[in-house]
């Protein structure tokens, strides 16, 4: 029997078997977060850095108790940062929080209506973080020229949006995502916009190395079931990409031979 093998996803020298990365936002509680992440099979899990609640919820469950750094590769993100300076500060706080772990997801936003990446601030932040020894996975627009620039600077993964964060509109410009995949030597992951399993499969069929999503699972009616759907979709899309799809044809081509028909 032929072994259908795949190479691991390699990001900054770290190897992963799962190509689905998930966020930890928007869940009902930490128990649901933990269960959904386990169901998704994800090995890389994003989280956010925020001010500690002082004098309240002292015994509230800590995210890192549920999503343990011993079990998962934690990926701090800079969501909510609108300037390079804030993003750099957030990454440094995260590195301290995780005892020196230097893999980060850089995300610098343009405005709170679109949450569209501010690529000017993103480039500035990437430069500072790379010089400071971080491995930078970077959220960006689906502009192949910006993607190329970020790779040339030394970012370890390029993560173009499929559509606006939290919109669930899927991949709005598959041609641009494809261009970025074709030109990149580092992993390309669609980050943002995934709404349902077919969107995740499409990203993988385009040749992306992985998919990062959060709302599509957390805001599904049944998050655990959607987590499993996403896991399967990413695996199916990856296999379809590796298998190589059949060519599209203008006319029909029968699956069953014509020869030997009883009415022949």
């Amino acid at each position: 029997m032929t072994q259908l093998i795949d190479t691991p996803l390699t990001i900054a020298g770290r190897e992963f078997n799962s190509r689905l990365l998930v966020g930890t936002g928007k869940y009902k509680d930490v128990d649901e977060t933990g269960a959904a992440i386990a169901e998704s099979g994800a090995e890389i899990v994003t989280f956010a850095v925020r001010r500690t609640n002082l004098g309240q919820d002292a015994d509230a469950p800590n995210l890192l108790d549920t999503v343990s750094p011993a079990r998962y590769t934690l990926l701090p993100n800079t969501a909510g940062c609108y300037t390079a300076k804030d993003a750099v500060r957030t990454c440094r706080l995260a590195r301290e929080l995780l005892d020196g772990h230097n893999l980060v997801k850089l995300e610098v936003l343009g405005d709170d209506h679109t949450l569209y990446p501010n690529v000017v601030e993103t480039l500035k932040a990437a430069e500072t973080l790379l010089a400071d020894g971080f491995d930078v996975m970077v959220y960006t627009s689906d502009d192949p020229i910006v993607a190329r620039e970020l790779e040339a600077m030394g970012c370890c993964a390029i993560m173009p949006l499929g559509s606006l964060i939290g919109s669930g509109h899927g991949i709005q410009n598959p041609y641009n995502v494809r261009l970025i995949v074709e030109q990149s030597q580092v992993p390309v992951l669609v980050d943002a916009g995934i709404g349902t399993a077919s969107d995740a499969a499409m990203a993988m069929e385009l040749g992306c190395d992985g998919v990062l999503l959060n709302s599509a699972i957390a805001h599904a009616r049944e998050p655990l079931r959607m987590a499993r759907a996403m896991k399967r979709a990413v695996e199916a899309g990856r296999d379809a990409f590796l298998a190589g799809r059949m060519p599209r044809r203008q006319s029909a081509d029968p699956s069953t031979p014509f020869a030997g028909r009883i009415n022949g």
């Binding site: 936002g25 001010r51 301290e96 959060n214």
Partner: protein, 73 residues
Amino acid sequence: MSTIQIRLNGEPYTLESTVDTPASAADLVEQLGLSDRRIAVEINEAIVPKSQLAETHLAEGDEIEIVHAIGGG
């Protein structure tokens, strides 16, 4: 007993501190009940590593941020 005023996570905060025993970042963390929590501390926009909290003295007007991990995409 004398006190100093700092800003903690964007809010004014009063801390006991004397010349003989100036308050440290570790004292503040302990006073907040956060000693055994997974947190990170920044003073005036510079990270203070866990190993240096005890020897980092706080001064009037210091801006302190204490952060932790929460759910996010």
